[in-house]
Amino acid sequence: MNRATATISLTVNGDPVTLPADPSRRLSEVLREGLGLRGTKVGCDAGDCGACTVLLDGAPVCACLTPLAQAGGRDVQTVEGLQATALQQAFLRHGAAQCGICTPGMLMTATAFLQERPEPTRAEAQEALGGVLCRCTGYTKIIDAVLDAAPGAPAQMPEAGHAVGARVERLDGGPKVAGTEIYGADACPEHTLLVRAVRAPSAPATFTLGDIETWRAAQPGEVHVFTASDIPGANIFGTIPPFADQPALAEDRARLRGEAVALVAGEAGVIEALDLTTFPITWQEADAGAPVHDNRPDNLLIAGVVRRGDAEAALANAVHVAEAQAETPYIEHAYIEPEAGVAWLEGDTLVIQACTQAPVMDRDDTARVLGLDPHKLRIIPAAAGGGFGSKLDLSLQPLIGLVALKTGRPARMIYTRAESMASTTKRHPARMSGRAGVDAEGRVTGMIFDGDFNTGAYASWGPTVAGRVPVHASGPYYTPNYAAEARAIHSYQPISGAFRGFGVPQAAILQEALYDDLAMKAGLDRLAFRRLNALQDGQSTVCGQVLHGVGIAACLDALKGPWEAALASADMANAEGGRFRHGVGVASCWYGCGNTGLPNPSTIRVGITAKGELILHQGATDIGQGSNTVITQICADALGLPVGQFRLIGPDTGLTPDCGKTSASRQTYVTGKAALLAGQALRGRILALSNMAEDARITLVGETLTVTDDRGERQVALRDLTPDGHGYVLAAEETYDPPTSPLDENGQGSPYAVYGFGAQMAELTVDVHLGIVRVTRITAAHDLGRVINPLLAEGQVEGGVAQGLGLALMEEYIPGRTENLHDYLIPTTGDMPEVKSIFVEVPDPEGPMGLKGLGEHVLIPTAPAILNAIRHATGAKVTKLPALPHRVLAAIREAQE
């Protein structure tokens, strides 16, 4: 009866297994580490995310909340037990997996649900999947897939020359729906040491280390301990080298709660059981009034400025002037995969396989910390279970690298949800104010923006945020007189870094509130007012850059029909009275793609082997957004071979040329252009070799290239050609770097070569007695220049809208208080509105095939559109985010007074 030590038998995916395991161990751990079934993902260890969902006797449970004992004698099904089911195919067909980390949990939950309700309604499917969080997709395509899980025909790949524009399924989707994708926590070579960090309980604080040897000796197994003094290189890193200020392990003081101060490493069983609160360290509270960094006495990291014309004079002469304030909190990226990775030595090369968005930056910064030649460090990006900007920064790379170097053994680290939230970067909290004015016709004559952005303890991407905000705070509107300043200011708080939009989403909240005010004061329809002021081709931005291929007017025009219908329908509903008030709001976005006035090249290599393999070295990290697929589509059409014929290598700093970082909405544009050039170059080589015409058709069958034009056909026997140093008989490698110029002291210049544009419209209802906001529809019109893959583009829009909705209505990270996914809320299936994507194609003269970036743009207009709709519905101006019910109700009451 008591099973204190006996083995436990259960059935896993139909196979009986008997385990000599601890009965109180989480089933998720037993499956992953005991049985190697790492398709079951762990996102929170608290039942908040559902990623670990498995079926216990057919019913979905969180494996992280199930003690092994309770699975004894029962049947456990995991994603590995699903064998190319219709549901998995539907997930691929609908683009339901982006990063894929939630996919196993979604699949298992949906499998049980469909068993019980084979033909569910959308609402039923949403409720059934309400317990699995996804941060990428906005859920729309997941629910679509669940509702369309009938067996279908296998996917058809587009023919040669027709890849661009096609709804191509993700090329890397198979492993995501099979549960075989390798994320940071999923690789564990033999004899790997587990690493944990000792972290600061509060900040600011100074510390002294105690008698580590005695503590080590008192532990029940062998424990290695490493501190800052063990770091062989420069104990300082940062994404922007001139501002690097962050130690890999703190030396004598902690600037933020959760900062790592020491590492313990050893056998997993020993390290897991350690009570790190006994670690010999003495903490002393430090002066919170002292500067965070001695070399920045005012805590000012940097201020970004853009000035054009005379804004004060323009406002003094304006017919109407509006004024606004807004405050936004820390926003957590809340990817479902906490940081994880493993490091090991191959000869004298250190290899790190970890979650990242920026493999080459990881390599260079980690090499510096570890005192290695960068060529002795290889970064293999693990599949990223969501990134959204935070995984641009180093997290555990130098830590596991240090342990592997010092011990010679593989070293692995998996952040808990709490340590991920406490120690990694956030969206900058912002306090913003602004004024804007219009002339008698309603044309904007000037705008002033001022913002303090809490950049936290270390520089990270603070300079980028301070630089991007003033460039973008005008919105995509012609603003002849402009003065904007954004300051990145240090605090002893979480590090603010990159998060989808680099501060621009915060700035848009203020600017679009001003625009609603101005439209009302000028007596203009709010959409018409924006259309009147939309940037036109040939006009100058606030940086004095003359733009071409400007699509904002086309986006606003695309909203005209939906806008009028929504206003009419809201008016009609409001005429009935009652506690629900209906509102409609609109907001725009623009966003420069790539680094701000700095080089950011990408290099793509494509080659054909003697055996006829067509290989693309694709170094752009696909964090779910789809680079692996769209870069290949572009290269395929440039070359003229079918997209389905490509095999992808990389990203891997040992195998792929540098494609830079996955940030700033640059990959489809910058790496895409390199892929276009490389594809064209390889095509040129083939045509030259065969002496055929420009428009010849190329086919690759076996070891033979066949080139056909209207004069005839030529064949190239690949094995007769001599392979190059990379093993290719035919290859091309091309680099593209956007032509930009640095900004001068007034922020004038050409900071970006390509901009993307968009406008979104929110429809919602507000329960005016409780302040509850329910967004019913977002209509999102985005100018992509050229749509490479509508399926993936829709996924970007839906996911961005979800994050924008979270920013508007529920997300607020409070250090030490919301370090979990039940106090820090992100939208669930039930919170998502219908999302209607409208794609506009105004070709950009610089972008490959005319395309523009999209990834960050999609998030920017959502929150301001929602806030403007709340105001339209109720008159309430919510200026402090998130618009939680009590804040909305207070704003409604204030508006009524």
Binding site: A4, S24, G47, L65, P67, Q70, N820, T828, G830
Partner: protein, 283 residues
């Protein structure tokens, strides 16, 4: 490795409890989130192997909800309309995953001020049946949960069931929960209302509010006000002031105290309207 006991009889469990302190585990949906460890903390008594503790039974004098009855069991049980609120609450506990594992009794033993089950069980006059190796006893629910994260459970004792007296199983009921998102959400405020109406007049009312005090609160004064009133226009007797007087809501990350008190009153009015004006509720 700490001891893990999983007896298959109640007596076996009580014997373990009599020997030494253990953590009593059932659904583990609160125990595991409380640790960052890979295992449950300390010696564990897992009571889910005791078949007799699971399920809802009608018995002499009322209903009995066994200690390991899951929220999904509640949703699937055939119960009179007075339990509708408990079923509605069950569907809002966490997620399907949590409902499949988490237990009703565990929800009250965890004694969170925001426990979804508490207001419903309070409005059902629930009592808690407690056993130890020496004896058994029964406590009214709101005596059993006697503070935030605190219960009257003594060392050596185990909750074996929650019982609902027959007289509280009459009438219809409604649960409403307000949170900042739809699923997997901790309440800002929640209410449970049970109305026994006969011939257009309220014979008996049970009103309870959760997440607005350290422990869910039964609004006995307001219940007395409603008793004997005509069901039509009933919600007008529920004033913000009367509700606020019974509560002690706090400011926290989810809402401020005054909002909570107002929301509780508003939700109570809506729940009462739903029960007294069914046509409107459907609209």
């Amino acid at each position: 490795m700490a001891a893990y006991h999983r007896p298959d009889t109640l007596q076996g469990a009580l014997d373990v409890l009599a020997e030494r302190p253990v953590t009593i585990a059932a659904g583990c949906t609160d125990l595991f989130p409380a640790t960052q460890g890979r295992t449950l903390t300390g010696p564990v008594l897992d009571i889910t192997g005791i078949a007799g503790l699971r399920g809802i039974k009608r018995e002499e004098g009322g209903f009995r909800i066994g200690a390991t009855t899951s929220w999904t069991d509640v949703i699937r049980a055939e119960l009179p309309p007075a339990f509708d609120m408990l079923k509605q609450a069950a569907r809002e506990v966490g997620s399907v995953q949590i409902q499949n594992s988490g237990t009703v009794a565990g929800n009250i033993c965890n004694a969170s001020p925001a426990a979804d089950g508490m207001p419903c069980l309070a409005a059902l006059d629930a009592e808690v049946e407690i056993a130890s190796a020496k004896n058994t006893r029964t406590l009214p629910l709101l005596h059993f949960v006697n503070g935030p994260r605190r219960t009257a459970l003594e060392p050596g004792e185990l909750v074996t069931a929650i019982t609902i007296p027959e007289k509280a199983t009459r009438g219809t009921s409604r649960f409403l929960k307000l949170g900042a998102r739809k699923y997997l959400v901790i309440s800002i405020a929640m209410v449970a209302v049970r109305l026994d109406i006969e011939g257009g007049t309220v014979r008996d009312a049970g009103l309870a509010v959760g997440a607005c005090s350290a422990v869910a609160t039964r609004l006995t004064d307001l219940e007395a006000t409603l008793a004997g009133q005509p069901s039509s226009g009933l919600s007008q007797h529920i004033t913000d002031a009367a509700v606020a007087a019974a509560l002690s809501p706090i400011d926290d990350i989810r809402a401020d105290g005054p909002y909570r008190a107002h929301a509780a009153a508003e939700l109570l009015r809506r729940a009462v309207d739903d029960l007294t004006q069914p046509a409107r509720a459907a609209a």
